[in-house]
Symmetry: C2
Subunit: 282 residues, 2 copies
């Protein structure tokens, strides 16, 4: 549970830090970011996890989203894990931006090649929270929420749907809502989980809801309509349909002109932080 | 005056674009960023130039400062030039992060090796504004202000002090206020301008004020006290002293715990944007 500090910098009256630790789940060093708001100097603050997308690291959201301003004001601790284990030395785990390192898909792999290191589901839901609780006295581990972008939106939705009592709220920017049905997801799930598609369902937000999973509060999803991955990889209408059919409360907002980038995320970050702060306050 | 579009992305209801053009002043392709706020779709908006520091590009501030949110609200066009000519092929212009490419120091070089390409003063004050005026119909070229960080803070201060009627306001984050007196500046000024130190004075904010230059409204400067360059390169007390002696209005704010990074800039960006918006409105 020991962590090493990479850097700590003052930011909006709080502290933006980067740290690393030896991860049991992923079998190597894992980096992560933590933003502590000013009030965390004297009081407990809730924890909001952000899961990033393909090609990203623990730094991407921290640098690009402009989230610290409002997180400072709302009193939220932001935790940003990396997107996969690194330096795995596994053949096939590098060289393809859609798969392997920086593309962990927030699942526990079962295929022999990847099962030992690619355990981002257990890392994000178990090991990382334990590390945060043990090392950041201000983190209130009874108040946690989760959100993410693209592959990380998939991660946030599936993790929240599988742990509906654990997280107080969930939201996503341009999530992969049906990985079983789109190229990014099919490639990753096949190689991480094998060709028995029944094992893919716990890692597919649409399939989870169809199979009975529910989240107790409204799910917030934002999607840009100029997103080049909209039709091929994202298909938010699938999620809208299964939520309607299942009676799952969903706010799906479509934004003309916005793409898949952090300019889109930055534009809407305040709404997401308020969504989570409202849930975490109660 | 033709420009080519590299990218345009929707951001806070406006457009963040990157462009390039063939620069007469610097003898090569120059990239720059322009953020247009939503109101620029139907009306003229004032132009605020941001000059970045050593090692930075036209992208750094755009990605890291979180400025578009309030610029959108205040109706400011943000223009972000690169920090020097690029791909100059000049021996000695690469390989040292403190000098040459990405370290143009916003001056017009006079030494034979650098005089032809390193003309960032004329580029920022003449060519780039002409390019903006010719290509962005919404840019109100009668309302311009300027700010910057570190080397770019030096650029903003010296450019504004030499053109006090041109710019409505000026501000800086952690500027190099006395380049003639500190290692970064001495190295750069010697190689760009030669060893006659009288030629350095027009590119030294403290020397400019000592020699009679004044800016007609209050100059805003923010400085972090955990900035590792504070004592060696920045020395804001020098600027404070010459402004006091000269009766130049200056608001110098010192911030405990903040360093030289964009976490510092992001924390204070709103104050700077409001400083400029107030001046540009009148």
């Amino acid at each position: 549970m020991n962590i090493e500090t990479i850097s700590e910098q003052r930011c909006f009256g709080g502290v933006q830090g980067f740290y690393w630790h030896d991860s049991r789940e992923t079998g190597g060093a894992m980096k992560f970011g933590v933003f502590r708001p000013p009030l965390a100097q004297n009081a407990k603050a809730p924890v909001l996890y952000y899961l990033a997308g393909l090609t990203c690291t623990e730094e991407t959201f921290v640098i690009k989203a402009g989230a610290q301003r409002l997180a400072a004001e709302l009193g939220l601790i932001l935790v940003t894990p990396d997107t996969s284990p690194r330096d795995t030395g596994i053949e096939g785990a590098t060289g393809d931006w859609e798969f392997g390192e920086a593309a962990g898909f927030y699942l526990d792999a079962t295929t022999p090649v990847f099962a030992k290191r690619f355990r981002m589901y257990s890392y994000v839901t178990k090991e990382l929270p334990a590390v945060i609780g043990a090392n950041f006295a201000s983190a209130d581990m009874h108040r946690e929420s989760i959100f993410g972008h693209s592959m990380g939106g998939h991660g946030a939705l599936t993790i929240a749907l599988k742990n509906p009592q654990r997280y107080k709220s969930v939201s996503a920017f341009a999530p992969i809502v049906a990985p079983s049905e789109v190229p990014w997801g099919r490639k990753a799930l096949l190689r991480y989980l094998g060709d028995d598609r029944s094992t893919w369902k716990p890692y597919d937000a649409c399939a989870l809801i169809r199979n009975g999973a529910r989240f107790p509060s409204t799910i917030l999803v934002d999607q840009g309509l100029a997103d080049k991955f909209l039709e091929s990889q994202l298909q938010p209408e699938r999620f809208d349909r299964v939520c309607r059919d299942a009676g799952q409360a969903l706010t799906l907002r479509l934004h003309a002109g916005y793409d898949h980038s952090y300019y889109f995320i930055g534009t809407l970050i305040a709404d997401h932080l308020r969504h989570h702060a409202d849930a975490l306050r109660s």
